[in-house]
């Protein structure tokens, strides 16, 4: 028995070692590289890169696109998961699959389909031009692309929770004559609030970093349609490595911030769930 226990202890530390080594190399080292490279030229170089006009405009655009995507996806996620989990209807499976599709579609293709839909070759183009709406190679295109790639993020977090909760409580409330809004607000929402926040955080993270789809739709107009990741790519292509990594470090910091928020939310949610 003793030998067995010793073996177990060895296994434990070997596995922990593997985990730390693997994650250290795969996750931590890239972060460190970004930070080290960002400060290679000193604080002054770093600050001038970060405070650059184009950087700030790119940051603002990124935040705008992220905000739009998160708001719309939140609305969608709430309605979609309510519809899918609280009601039975035909084609439900197909609907849930369709909702999930954007995650598996390559970002490049996501960009391409919007080019095909709204680009100059599309019949919609002339129509949109006539009413002075620019979609592709303009901010709306970027927002659309961002919405697309993060489309299922919130519903995906909500559906399992709402599924597990069942619909008894809603039915009971409905039997007593409560209307949809009351049922949602008083019965459904308290169950999902942490999952919702969690989904919003994930959605924000992904929306901020989207590169492929946005790259296809952006047109790379400096100061106009460059998001932060695109701006980084441009800096990188301009041999401005220090600024490129410096701007990247903004995103790294945001990513870390998001992870912290996520962890806090998760443990809060767990606590609530257990009590």
């Amino acid at each position: 028995m003793k030998k067995e226990e010793r073996n177990a202890a060895i296994t434990k530390w070997v596995l922990i070692g593997i985990t730390i080594l693997f994650l250290g190399i795969m996750l931590l080292l890239p972060l460190i590289v970004v930070l080290v490279q960002a400060f290679r030229g000193g604080i002054a170089a770093y600050m001038s890169a970060v405070a650059d006009e184009y950087t700030i405009r790119a940051l603002l655009l990124t935040l705008e696109a992220t905000l739009c995507a998160v708001i719309l996806n939140t609305i969608f996620g709430l309605f979609a998961s309510f519809a899918v989990t609280k009601f039975d209807f035909k084609w439900k499976k197909i609907l849930t699959t369709l909702i999930d599709v954007p995650v598996t579609v390559s970002p490049i293709i996501a960009g391409l389909i919007f080019i095909l839909l709204f680009g100059r070759r599309s019949i919609l183009y002339e129509w949109l031009k006539a009413i002075h709406i620019k979609v592709v190679f303009a901010v709306p295109g970027i927002i659309l692309a961002t919405i697309f790639v993060t489309f299922p993020f919130i519903s995906r977090e909500l559906i399992p929770i709402m599924e597990a909760q069942g619909k008894d409580e809603e039915e009971a409330a409905a039997l007593m004559g409560a209307n949809g809004w009351t049922i949602f607000r008083r019965i459904t929402f308290p169950h999902i609030k942490w999952a919702l926040l969690y989904g919003i955080v994930l959605c924000t993270a992904r929306a901020m970093g989207e590169f492929g789809a946005v790259s296809v739709l952006s047109g790379h107009l400096r100061g106009r349609t460059n998001t932060l990741p695109l701006h980084i790519e441009i800096l990188f292509n301009e041999f401005q490595y220090i600024p490129a990594f410096a701007v990247s470090s903004i995103l790294v910091v945001l990513a870390i911030f998001i992870l912290v928020v996520r962890s806090v939310l998760e443990s809060r949610g767990k606590k609530e769930y257990e009590s």
Partner: protein, 352 residues
């Protein structure tokens, strides 16, 4: 009739959950819908509540066809199987919910909630959450919540299923008392025959989407109309060749005979057997203690029978030869059921 179902049909895909259901419930009665799981009893309950819509047929409550009336306006209280208490609300809020939705005055709500909590014996627990209550307490909350808006009809789906055995017995009589006291028409669903017999004024037995029989517990017990009902109660034994037992009227083309343990009298050889002449000899194959009695399995002419013996009597042992007398049996013939009395019982009375 306060509640009436007329020719109700309902199917889920290929599965027929209800096949031309017809029955009526008188005002103030407590009805038990009894049947094995999958027999369609919950579907009936949910259709009455308006949680499901029948494919065909009419549901009438208080003289009004309610098919088109949404669940929330049927004036029904519903107790869910798992109670479906609002986990994120306190007990007080749970009970008050229905009243708040109806926009009742605050003062009235408060009075009513306190009155109900007192009625169900949960005073002082207003601020608790459902997760902090025991199973029995939760059921009481569910009951109070269902009653809060003064429904005319109370529907309960397996009200005792989620409670452990000891509390269940207590709750049964509590619920029966409570409903009698309030005089509210109630229908509850159960798969437990004891529960139905003990609690219900009338029982409706369902099987495979059909109603097999409706009647008082005694009627159903004593006078089963279908083979299913006949075999549903107790732990019946089935005889292939009942005529190997003495003094039973012969029926042609019978399917089988059903004998309940209480129909059988097993006596030791040294005990007095009143109807010795019409008793058969059997061998004890199994003896088990049942708390309040002894269950004895005997083998008679190759048929297995189960019987009960009082604890006061001398114990029997496995392998012992005993006399077995059958008072009566239920013989099925196709869809019909015949109650056959042992004829020696009548002869006897004639002699006396």
């Amino acid at each position: 009739m306060y509640v009436e179902l007329k020719d109700i049909n309902k199917s889920y895909g290929d599965f027929k959950a209800s096949k031309s259901i017809n029955f009526g419930v008188e005002k103030g009665k407590l009805i038990g819908l009894l049947g094995p799981s999958g027999s369609g009893k919950t579907t009936i309950l949910r259709m009455i509540a308006g949680l499901e819509t029948p494919d065909f047929g009419e549901i009438i409550i208080d003289g009004q066809v309610v098919n088109e009336i949404p669940a929330s306006q049927r004036g029904i209280g519903f107790v869910f199987q798992n109670y479906a208490l609002f986990r994120h609300m306190t007990i007080y809020e749970n009970v008050a919910f229905g009243l708040r939705v109806k926009k009742e005055k605050k003062k009235y709500i408060d009075e009513r909630v306190r009155e109900l909590l007192k009625l169900v014996g949960l005073e002082g627990l207003e601020k608790r959450y459902p997760s902090q209550l025991s199973g029995g307490q939760r059921q009481r909350v569910a009951f109070a919540r269902a009653l809060a808006p003064n429904p005319h009809l109370l529907l309960l789906d397996e009200p005792f299923a989620a409670i452990d055995a000891k509390v269940r017995l207590e709750l049964r009589s509590w619920l029966k008392e409570m409903i009698e006291k309030l005089g509210i028409t109630s229908i509850f669903v159960t798969h437990d025959q004891d529960e139905a017999i003990e609690v219900a004024d009338e029982i409706i037995i369902t099987n495979q989407g059909r109603i097999e029989q409706m009647g008082t517990p005694l009627e159903i017990y004593q006078d089963p109309q279908t083979p299913f009902v006949a075999s549903f109660f107790g732990q019946p034994s089935f005889l292939k060749d009942y005529q190997s037992f003495h003094s039973f009227e012969a029926i042609d083309n019978y399917t089988e005979a059903i004998v309940r343990p209480e129909f059988v009298n097993v006596t030791k050889k040294n005990e007095v057997q009143k109807y010795k002449s019409s008793a058969s000899e059997g061998v004890v194959t199994e003896v088990s203690f049942r708390g309040d009695s002894v269950e004895v399995q005997v083998s008679v002419n190759g048929e297995k029978l189960s019987a009960k013996r009082s604890l006061e009597l001398q114990p029997v042992t496995v392998g012992e030869k005993v006399d077995v007398f059958v008072y009566r049996m239920l013989v099925t013939e196709g869809k019909r059921v015949h109650l056959l009395e042992n004829q020696s019982l009548h002869e006897d009375s004639v002699i006396i």
